[in-house]
Symmetry: D2
Subunit: 350 residues, 4 copies
């Protein structure tokens, strides 16, 4: 057990991933919240913006200039894309670890990054050593990482859904992998925009980003890496009228090798020791509310009758396992704390 608390800074604490980090870290037994920055809201007590934190967070937002982030053990960036990479080197020089919840350290190919995020990558050397932060895939590297690129929300569902198949070479790549993903509206962030107003997004659903979503290259890169093979990947995200929750329905063609295997058993074995990955019994399908507020991800698999296609259904809370919870899980690993510390929040149902 640690005797000293981890000093944590949060850059950009006013969005949904920011307040979600605060919800989790405020009661994390090994954490001391040192600073939460916001240029626009410096001076405002955090609990004035988020009254849910009254009695739990007594800090005010501080101006980034005065936040003394250099004295933290780790800094989370819950900021727009591009912020973390501008401050990364200075923090690393001060021996501060970095967990970026934006995209700056997710894509190793800077050309791809620049194409999708419309900005040059300002610290490719830091990027090279950054680790993609899905513990169930890269735990060893996370343990010794200085910089984590915390994954996008969609990728976690698709990658943990497919990993057991990819690792064992059980997918026939002659057909594309298709991920039909559905997200609650909080995934769009806490920005004032007409399209995500209650009166626009409620009692309504839509597909979006069909012609190109930023998580496509991120997922594609990881699939290719896990498959050790180029992969055709079709990805259609949808916006669903719920606050939290993400469900990906994934359709894959199985290789011949797969037909002789008990895939259910294979998935159960693969994730047996993973606290946050729950493979559901055959025939049970997951609901997003079964993980509301928790770091759990649940996976069901269904083999289409008389077919070589497999359907996977994967759910998570997009703000927890899809963002802040996974970030805390990464932090726990980086600092040698039990991986589930601060993350044993029972899902809120109903």
């Amino acid at each position: 057990m640690m005797s000293k608390k981890i000093k944590v800074g949060i850059v950009g604490g006013t969005g949904y991933t920011g307040v979600e980090l605060l919800r989790l870290l405020a009661v994390h037994p090994n954490v001391e919240l040192a600073a939460i920055t916001s240029r626009g809201d410096a001076g405002l007590p955090v609990a004035d913006m988020f009254p849910s934190l009254r009695g739990y967070v007594n800090l005010a937002f501080s101006d980034p200039a005065n936040a003394n982030l250099n004295q933290c053990d780790v800094v989370f960036f819950a900021t727009p894309h591009g912020v973390a990479m501008s401050q990364a080197q200075a923090l690393l020089d001060a021996n501060v670890k970095i967990i970026d919840l934006a995209a700056d350290f997710r894509l190793q190919d800077t050309a791809v990054f620049e194409k999708w995020y419309k900005m040059p990558h300002s610290c490719p050397e830091v990027l090279k050593n950054a680790v993609y932060g899905i513990p169930e895939l890269y735990r060893a590297q996370i343990k010794s990482a200085q910089v984590i690129g915390n994954p996008g929300c969609y990728p976690t569902t698709v990658l943990l859904g497919l990993a057991p198949l990819l690792e064992q070479g059980l997918i026939d790549f002659s057909a594309p992998i298709i991920a039909d993903s559905k997200s609650g509206v909080s995934g769009a962030g806490r920005k004032a925009e007409v399209a995500t107003l209650f009166a626009e997004a409620s009692d309504n659903m839509k597909a979006y980003g069909v012609s190109g979503h930023r998580h496509h290259p991120e997922i594609h890169a990881q699939l290719t890496k896990l498959a050790n093979n180029d992969v055709q990947f079709v990805f259609v995200p949808h916006l669903i009228p719920m606050i939290r929750g993400m469900l990906s329905t994934i359709y894959v063609k199985l290789s011949e090798k797969a037909n002789s295997l008990d895939l259910q058993a294979l998935f159960e074995a693969r994730y047996k020791n993973e606290r946050f990955v729950d493979v559901l019994p055959t025939g049970v399908l997951p609901e997003t509310r079964s993980v509301r507020g928790s770091n759990q991800i649940r996976i069901a698999l269904h083999k289409q009758v008389s077919s070589d296609y497999l359907t996977l259904v994967v759910v998570q809370d997009n703000l927890v396992k899809g963002a802040a919870g996974q970030a805390v899980q990464n932090m726990n690993i980086m600092f040698g704390v039990a991986e589930n510390t601060g993350l044993e929040v029972v899902p809120l149902l109903p």
Copy 2:
């Protein structure tokens, strides 16, 4: 123009398709509502159960035994499966046309019907002459039909989405057609069940029926007919926290022939004269609220870059084009009334 009104009876007016029929028929200029039956609620004024109809429907529910349905011109069945077929022959003998919103007359193969609906088909002779009620596919037959099997809600989205491709032989059947469909909760009907309570279904989503949904054989039969070919079909329905609205995302592999064609133009041409089918301009994706309360169906198509896969996104109001609106459209055709009569309800947005 008709001089005489169509005398309409509704059997089973207490569910959502029933009240939706009433909403449309109450102000239909060519309709006289003659009887609405409900065994359990006989005597109750319809507007006491559905206060939205106060001032529009003055009838009370009548007992089926006393409803004199024989004197109607047409009877809609908004009942559980199995009711329409038990009364069909008697009505036909009295020269009454039938539009069944349940499944009794949707599946020509009675063995398939019996497998999925767990009851024998009691009037196979009537079934033989029944027409599957999608006007955009079977308008000529509907015109002279005595019995309409009004389609299930999901099938209309999938079939109208795929018809232009199937009719032209543009699908490569070596890969399955995949329909990932999402429905609002009203699709489950107005039955008291825990799973569709507000506190269960709100802020939540799930896939269901992965191992077999009754609309699978219905869609499969129609696809096979339109394709003149056996078709692999993967269908995963999802329950979405909204009252109305259905969105199907359909993934198909195109045949080589398709690659030289302008599919957008082909869809626009196919549906140019269809009042209720709207092919969206390239790059525009539909939202379910854009059809809320209306008989419109909207279709978008997107060709995956450097791929032979096409994605279709189709939306409708599951209770209108997916049920009662389409039934009224069928009635209009059967009685020689302009097809859009009573159906020019502007969608309710927001």
Copy 3:
């Protein structure tokens, strides 16, 4: 019947009252939509912003400068407060009638207007002749009005709920009239704001404006006028996670005179000939969905046992009877068209 259509202009068609006017006017048999202006979106086809209007509205937004509003018979202002009064005199000079859905012509006391809307009133002479647009209270004046101040959404529920009592002197003014009002989120308009994002307003409710809401002085002025007496009025609005719908629960102390009267009968008699006011039978309480999309307002009254307090429950669709529907009703009256023309939309339930 009119032979010539009413030429209608809409200033500011991009908000919720604007699109709601369009929904109703697009199929109004006596209306020709001549122009819809929007400075920011000039040139954009209206149906591109609101796809629900595809096939119904073929106009594009026009720049106010080029809209030739002078050639309209009537112009609706669905704009922020202050716009209508800046253009009113010029339109009146061109013999164009005005229906303002903002607050410019609601408050006869310009000092009160200036206090609550933080701007001077720029045309007090026009204001003097403006009529407060609740047909059930001021039909005769509306008939001959050139300028209508269309009421705020909350006031219509409170005023129509209380009018029968006020007109008969049945309220004891020693206690305040208390209106506890609840509104769907569309009442906040189609402005990009954090507080009305789906992820903020869904699964959440709150009171707001307790220390002062702009509809307080508006209601207070009308109550005072109807009561011919100064009235204490306590008003607490609440924001409810639904798109449309408004419910006001009103608590009043009855005068002694009221105790000998059948109030239910009095309300029924008062509104017997009002197409859009529905007094519910004793013991029945209204739901907001029973008026969704319609111009109906429903009222229930309940006398507290062994008490001299009366509770009124009033529901309307805030965008219809609370805004655009009432505006169309006013237009119908001003142009001698049957009052319900274009307003017989059956409520959308479920």
Copy 4:
């Protein structure tokens, strides 16, 4: 600190208060879950019904007959009204404490109980010694109680909102106290009923129980006790389309004595040491989501300008402080555990 765990039994674990108890107790450090009974679902693993509890609750529902509740330290009844009183004496004889979340031990006047719950009270002797379980009002009695009548959800908001005024005699009882209360749909329980289906209750609101709600006599009895005076009380509950959350807006006439006091300071002083009661700063109004999933109750007060009326706005999570959370708080007090043990769940926002 306790060395031994509290052995807990739950009777009727399949409703919303049952699963909420499980959510809280599953991770309560001083609790051992011994049995959860359900006649209808005996044998079913609890986590099969509530997948949110996978990994947290390994028990199956047991038949009440075999549950050995006599060996528990405390039994919670999350059952319909009438169950607890039928088993109370036997459990007390076995030295088991009882916390009833239904109404059996809330009303000391058995005639009132019988009138509202339509059943005779079967153990008036036990009732006499039962304590009404609001710790902030009756902590000392709870400490030594054998039987707790855990309050209804509405009463907690009204009573904690008014207690500081009642205790100090600051209300003028010549006017009624009016509580306009709004509840999320989970308050109606997990029973299969049409009225609380998603498609009925979503995008909809209504008042209900205007002519008599069971919480009226409960609140009235407590108000009278706290006031030491008979109190006129008007109570109108409303159903709001949200899963959890309750907001009561309370209107009271202040006594003259109140006018010279700083009521804000008085409330803050009254609740200064109460972990779960949060008096908001002047001018801040609470949202229900600020307490989602937590045992917190938040209170705001607003003095109407130039008036002797005070408006209180009180929010809680109806399933936590309004039910299961308060029950756990009572248990903690009864067993000498720190009152907030197991209840420091940060509210889930967004």
